[in-house]
């Protein structure tokens, strides 16, 4: 009897231990770190709220948040529109549908580092394929990664290409769950394709849209690999994302306490952002 009571605890204990060591402990430790100065190898020094005072005076950190928001502003709508369009297409009875579905998903499973390196070449100023195409059709070259105004949109386009397949699949699931009777009724009423899409499809897949927005917002806030490899945050800090900035503070300069404070502040922003998004979407 006693052993029966213990069994479930033993079964869940690996996960509890994992959660404790790799999630709860880091969170508690980060809270402690926020109030200390610590370079990993020297003893911690209590500094009170000094890290937060520094945070509010750190222009580059706020620029990194702004950069991240610019990325999200381009990436999320672009991703939803393209993913929904592709999902709608792939939901039709077209030839090679299976192959096309797999093709759109392919970039999702390719390593982010590989994709980033390949796109760096495509974005090349003088020898990149995209600029060659532009010049061949009589358009001027674009400084994809070297123009401060263009670099973040360029990264957003690449991130959209990389991730869109995942959201296509999610939208496909959503589209296939819309009861066909709705469309049949609309056909009888003489609704156009756009009207069916606007008044049946969109409301019916609203939970999917909500999920995609939340997932891409959280994914977008953690933007790191792309600017880390492609631009190192340049040109002129225009692609320094918040996570990249926190990473640099922690693992280049070993300002662990300050990085913990930045991390907490940024986590609070993400929570606030997701909360507002949720309220807005629920209201709609």
């Amino acid at each position: 009897m006693k052993s029966q009571k213990l069994t479930p605890y033993l079964m869940v204990s690996p996960y509890i231990l994992h959660l404790g060591f790799f999630v709860l402990f880091p969170i508690v430790f980060s809270v402690i770190l926020m109030f200390h100065r610590w370079n990993i190898i020297s003893p911690m020094e209590f500094v009170g709220f000094q890290n937060f005072v520094k945070l509010f005076q750190d222009r580059l950190f706020f620029q990194s948040i702004l950069n991240t928001l610019i990325f999200l502003l381009i990436h999320i709508p672009l991703q939803i529109v393209i993913a929904l369009f592709l999902a709608e297409m792939l939901n039709q009875k077209i030839r090679l549908r299976g192959l096309l579905r797999a093709s759109y998903f392919l970039p999702v499973v390719i390593s982010g580092v590989v994709v980033t390196i390949v796109w760096s070449q495509l974005y090349g100023q003088d020898t990149g394929l995209l600029n060659r195409i532009l010049v061949n059709i009589g358009l001027p070259k674009v400084g994809w990664l070297i123009d401060p105004a263009i670099a973040m949109p360029s990264i957003a386009i690449m991130a959209t290409w990389k991730n869109v397949g995942l959201y296509v699949v999610l939208f496909l699931v959503g589209l296939q769950s819309v009861p066909p009777q709705y469309y049949e009724a609309a056909d009888i009423d003489g609704a156009s394709h756009w009207q069916k899409f606007r008044y049946i499809t969109i409301p019916a897949i609203n939970p999917t849209i909500f999920m995609v927005v939340i997932l891409s917002t959280i994914g977008g806030f953690s933007l790191f690999i792309e600017p880390y490899i492609m631009t190192s945050g340049g040109p002129l800090n225009s692609t320094v994302s918040a996570v990249l900035y926190i990473y640099k503070q922690a693992f280049t300069y070993y300002h662990m306490g300050y990085a913990a404070a930045l991390g907490f502040f940024f986590a609070a922003i993400i929570m606030l952002f997701v909360f507002i998004q949720r309220k807005v979407i629920e209201r709609d």
Partner: protein, 451 residues
């Protein structure tokens, strides 16, 4: 480590052992605990001072070969204290691996690939042994290095925590035929000549409307370490080996730094260096897209392996301001040897290191790795001189070795270089600031970091 290993073993055992206490499971559990305990004990064996010294080398294949050779010879000749070598474990960078080892107290006794710029950071935290307290260290050091090198490696607290071991001076590799084609029998040596060559070499060779030949290339990314291979090397050349930081004060707000920024700003403004990220494509120097580049001697092995027939290259000093006089200094990219405080017998570790850095083994280092030992008047020592005669591509580096500098003594060096890199990007690459403004802003920001 012991506690955590035994704990993990015990935990696994309890899962297995929990329900039915059969004899079989009891025996298995005992073996498992015993095994884990052995592993746990073994982890600390290298630090107990009784069995062997653990030595971590760099993890490139040539240095692994060198480390194996040295350790093999040492162990064959000495029965008193054996050395066990292994390459530094794989990680994103060896610096991060060492940091993790320091935190986990799993550092080796000896590490031979410590970037000089990191030593002060580790020294201040007390994780390194002050080598000047060991018998015979200073004597050997003075025999090996001149006073400027010793001054360069002496920490702020007056102790010496590192052995200057090897260098890879940054020089200009150049395509002989390309420079000849624009009238330069020797590559340009001054900024004006370099800009002139840049103008002549900046060409669209196949007439497709795109420039496909540049005088040189350097990454435009604002990573702090990139500046060692452009700004810092050129600054050392322009300033006759001047410092950036001296005793906690910024000293780079000067005409040499401004001249370097102005020179590179012009290079980029006129398009003589491309702003593209060329690192992920085929070798642009070997393929003839760029006529020169700032590199170290590691490029010799690479170029020899991949060069095409008729491709002729050579090395010389980096360009300097037109008014420059005297020898041309450059960055030596020094990698040094340290003993960690986890070593229980530093004197015995030093005895092994004295053997490792002997003249004979320095020569072995050069032979196996083509990296230069940081030893005074290297080019004048007979066996080295003979080697460089047989390997003429490396000879310029041996000559340059007389005029190299490492990094300044500063625990915040990465932050300082990051600040310089930010201003470099703003001024040199994007021309949003004058060189004077950029250097001044970098100096002010760097001083704030130091304060």
């Amino acid at each position: 480590m012991k506690t955590s290993t035994i704990f993990c073993g015990g935990y696994l055992c309890s899962l297995l052992f929990y329900k039915k206490e059969t004899a079989q499971r009891a025996v298995f559990t005992f073996l498992l605990i015993f095994g884990f305990t052995l592993i746990a004990c073994n982890n600390d064996k290298n630090n107990d001072g009784s069995d062997f010294l653990q030595y971590w080398s760099s993890n490139n294949p040539y240095e692994i070969e060198f480390a194996e050779y040295i350790v093999g010879e040492w162990n064959r000749l000495n029965t008193e204290k054996k050395v066990f070598s292994q390459p530094v474990p794989e990680g994103r960078s060896s610096e991060e691996v060492i940091l993790a080892a320091v935190v986990g107290k799993t550092t080796p006794d000896i590490y031979s690939n410590m970037w000089q710029g990191d030593v002060e950071f580790f020294a201040r935290s007390g994780t390194l042994i002050p080598l000047d307290t060991l018998d015979g260290f200073l004597e050997t050091l003075y025999q090996r290095c001149d006073s400027s090198v010793i001054d360069e490696i002496t920490s702020a607290d007056g102790h010496i925590y590192q052995i200057p071991w090897k260098i890879n001076p940054i020089m200009l590799i150049y395509n002989v035929n390309l420079f000849k084609s624009v009238g330069y029998k020797k590559p340009p040596q001054t900024y004006s000549q370099f800009l002139d060559a840049g103008e002549k070499l900046h060409q669209d060779l196949d007439g497709d409307g795109y420039v496909d030949l540049w005088v040189g290339y350097s990454s435009i990314l604002a990573d702090w370490w990139q500046r060692f291979f452009d700004f810092y090397s050129l600054y050392l050349g322009a300033s006759n080996g001047g410092k950036l930081i001296d005793q906690g004060k910024v000293v780079f707000n000067n005409q040499s730094a401004i001249a370097v920024f102005r020179f590179l700003q012009e290079v980029y403004k006129k398009g003589y260096f491309t702003k593209e990220l060329l690192s992920a494509r085929q070798d642009v120097f070997i393929e003839g897209f760029i006529a020169s580049r700032f590199v170290g001697p590691w490029e010799v092995i690479h170029a020899e392996k991949f060069k095409k027939e008729g491709f002729d290259y050579h090395f010389r000093e980096l360009p300097v301001p037109d008014s420059h006089s005297g020898p041309v200094y450059t960055y030596g990219d020094p990698k040094n040897i340290v003993i960690f405080n986890t070593c229980k017998n530093p004197q015995k570790a030093w005895n092994f290191l004295r053997y490792l850095i002997s003249e004979e083994n320095d020569f072995k280092l050069l032979e196996i790795t083509t990296q230069l030992p940081r030893r005074k008047k290297l080019i004048k020592i007979k066996q080295f001189a003979d080697y460089f005669e047989k390997n003429p591509k490396l000879k310029p580096f041996a000559i340059q070795a007389e005029h190299v500098r490492g990094t300044d003594v500063c625990a915040q060096l990465k932050e300082i270089f990051d600040v310089i890199s930010q201003e470099y990007e703003a001024c040199v690459i994007y021309d949003t600031k004058t060189p004077e403004e950029a250097i001044n802003d970098a100096a002010e920001a760097a001083q704030v970091i130091l304060n």
